[in-house]
């Protein structure tokens, strides 16, 4: 869009500045709407009760600054444990989604065999059909396998839930990989497994990262399956833990605000680190090969 053309040049300088100001006004307004609620919660979590109610919009001052909410949360809630649970569930599910998804996508994009198309369609059907609709049977299945109130049950469900999108994106991408490099490896006598692990996997690393970030958000934030499959205190995830903690402490505002902040902050830190990856992943289709 850098091309300077005659029409643009003829347009007045003032007009351009006016347009730019309008664009910024809209974007800035919406950006404030987007982050204001987050800011106000984190801000007030560092105040005492009086500060929260008298001046909700003010920064914490020496008078109103307090970390009593955080103290309550850390004493009462089992948040470290919940964090651990969320981390285990998310990381193991991601690992399985990426590994199984990449293997399946490799098979679908690399080899010709009967049922290839059919299996491909079958595997991505899940994009259209939300896994939650099978909840009734999933719970029964987990009871039969005695996996209720274990993290394993969540990991299995999230893996099944994440596979269709992962396979879809990875297959599309793997079809664009050059064939020569794999054929070279075959001539060199590498087995099909070594070709996958040593040649293909390194080539698809950027896309794997995209799929990982994409699949991570719904797993970390899910409330439905932790509530139904693993609501015991030992297996609660952060999302469920915060939800139930707040249910008990509705009158203790500083504790509620602190627990919300505790749940928000790690996500924001992770986002600050990976936002480039995430956004380039979402807009990946725009970069033409």
């Amino acid at each position: 869009m850098n091309t300077v053309d005659t029409t643009r040049a003829r347009r007045g300088r003032m007009g351009r500045i006016g347009t730019a100001a309008g664009v910024h006004a809209v974007l800035l307004t919406y950006t404030l709407i987007a982050i204001f609620p987050v800011v106000i919660v984190v801000l007030n979590s560092f105040k005492n009760r009086r500060g929260i109610f008298t001046e909700p919009l003010a920064l914490p001052t020496a008078e109103t600054f307090s970390t009593e909410g955080y103290a309550t949360v850390l004493n009462q809630g089992n948040f470290l444990l919940y964090y651990g649970n969320s981390l285990i569930v998310t990381i193991v599910s991601l690992f399985l989604i990426l590994l199984c998804g990449a293997m399946a996508a490799h098979a679908l994009s690399e080899y010709r065999f009967k049922l290839n198309t059919l299996l491909g369609v079958y595997l991505i059907l899940g994009i259209m059909v939300p896994i939650r609709l099978g909840t009734v049977a999933i719970l029964q299945l987990m009871v039969d396998l005695s996996l209720v109130n274990t993290l394993v049950s969540l990991i299995l469900v999230y893996t099944a839930q994440g596979l269709p999108v992962a396979i879809f994106i990875l297959t599309e991408f793997m079809r664009t990989l050059s064939r020569d490099i794999k054929d070279c490896a075959r001539v060199d006598g590498l087995s099909e497994y070594r070709i996958f692990f040593e040649v293909v996997l390194p080539l698809i690393r950027p896309v794997l990262a995209t799929v990982a970030v994409f699949s991570m958000i719904p797993i970390w934030n899910d409330l439905w399956f932790p509530l139904i499959l693993a609501s015991s205190d030992a297996t609660k995830t952060v999302t469920l833990g915060v939800q139930q903690f707040i249910g008990q402490y509705t009158v203790n505002w500083s504790a509620v605000l602190a627990s919300l902040s505790i749940a928000i902050l790690p996500v924001l830190v992770l986002y600050a680190i990976f936002s480039r990856q995430l956004i380039s992943g979402i807009t990946a289709g725009a970069v033409k090969g």
């Binding site: 293997m103 399946a104 596979l163 087995s191 956004i279 725009a286």
Partner: protein, 322 residues
């Protein structure tokens, strides 16, 4: 995004064929884990739910075949039908509000971002923040802000002279569903924004240059060149909105309003109805067979929506080679 990805080099007509290799053991090994996990924990439960929905529970715990009896009860039995149609109607309102507020807003933000303003990256990053947060957190944050107890919303509206407009929206029957929908719009507008932004970026510069040389104004270029080119993406956004509306909306309503969809079922949707039917609550004991029936109804409603879209809309969309 699909069509764009598939336009990449791999699909060029080529004489090289996929290599036919000797055994098929490795193909099975590569496919087995994914197919197994997916079949057992995603497809089988769905099929099993379909089966369960054809049975009715007996007081002694056994189940008898009832055919479509559960569906008939859900649709026509006075007690069930009133809840079912109410939940479905609320879902449709939810969908409608997302279509007229969230997606146009996403389009506007994406169009502005695609002009590559200064700090564009910062705007994009910050506007996407709410999408990352757990629905539970979003629900409580807004509940606090809108609460008359804390008075943040009321105070801010009073500051700009709109104080008289304030009402405890989440608690009023007439406005609760709209309030919940707007919270959901606030959270998820980043997704249509990003998808549309990506589509806008993929429009070749030559095309836009040609339009400018032809003397089209910025607005005309947007309406006559860019918008027709991104119609397929808008279609995908619409269908994602439709599906998400039946699944994701549960989390938000459950966290803000609980499982009964208060006040007086005005925010009751298919997700909360399914949860309540399956697990029961104060006045009703859980019934897995009716729960499965509600789930299957959701499945059919999603299928009908997707089917209508594929037949009625997508076939008419013109895809331009870019």
């Amino acid at each position: 995004m699909t069509e764009i990805v598939s336009d990449a080099t791999g699909r060029k007509p080529t004489t090289r064929r996929r290599r036919k290799t000797g055994g098929i053991t490795h193909i099975v090994v590569f496919l087995a884990p994914a197919v197994l996990i997916y079949t057992v924990f995603s497809i089988y439960p769905l099929v099993e739910s379909l089966r369960l929905s054809l049975f009715a529970g007996q007081p002694d715990g056994s189940a008898v075949w009832t055919g479509l009896g559960n569906y008939a009860r859900l649709l026509f039995d006075a007690n069930w039908a009133v809840r079912f149609w109410n939940a479905l109607w609320n879902n449709l309102i939810l969908f409608f509000i997302h279509m007229v507020v969230q997606n146009p807003l996403g389009l506007l933000l994406a169009a502005l971002l695609s002009l590559a303003p200064r700090f564009g990256g910062a705007y994009r990053t910050l506007i996407f923040v709410p999408t990352l947060l757990s629905v539970v957190i979003v629900g409580f944050v807004w509940e606090l802000i809108l609460s008359p107890l804390w008075g943040v919303a009321e105070g801010m509206m009073a500051a700009v002279g709109l104080g008289w407009l304030y009402a405890p929206w989440l608690g009023l029957e007439g406005s609760a569903l709209t309030a919940v929908s707007m919270i959901s719009v606030w959270q998820y507008v980043g997704i249509p924004m990003m998808l549309i932004y990506a589509a806008l970026l993929s429009i070749p510069d030559e095309l836009l240059d040609a339009a400018r040389v032809d003397g089209l104004s910025g607005a005309a270029i947007f309406w006559k060149v860019k918008l027709p080119l991104i119609l397929p993406t808008l279609g995908i956004v619409a269908i994602l909105t439709y599906i998400g509306n039946f699944t994701l909306a549960f989390d938000l309503i459950y966290s803000i309003q609980g499982v009964l969809g208060p006040p007086d079922y005005s925010t009751d949707i298919m997700g909360t109805l399914m949860f309540r039917t399956f697990f029961g609550q104060q006045t009703q004991i859980g019934d897995i067979y009716m729960g499965a029936t509600v789930a299957c109804m959701m499945f059919f409603i999603i299928l009908i929506g997707v089917g209508l879209y594929l037949v009625g809309v997508q076939r008419r969309l013109t895809r331009y080679e870019m």
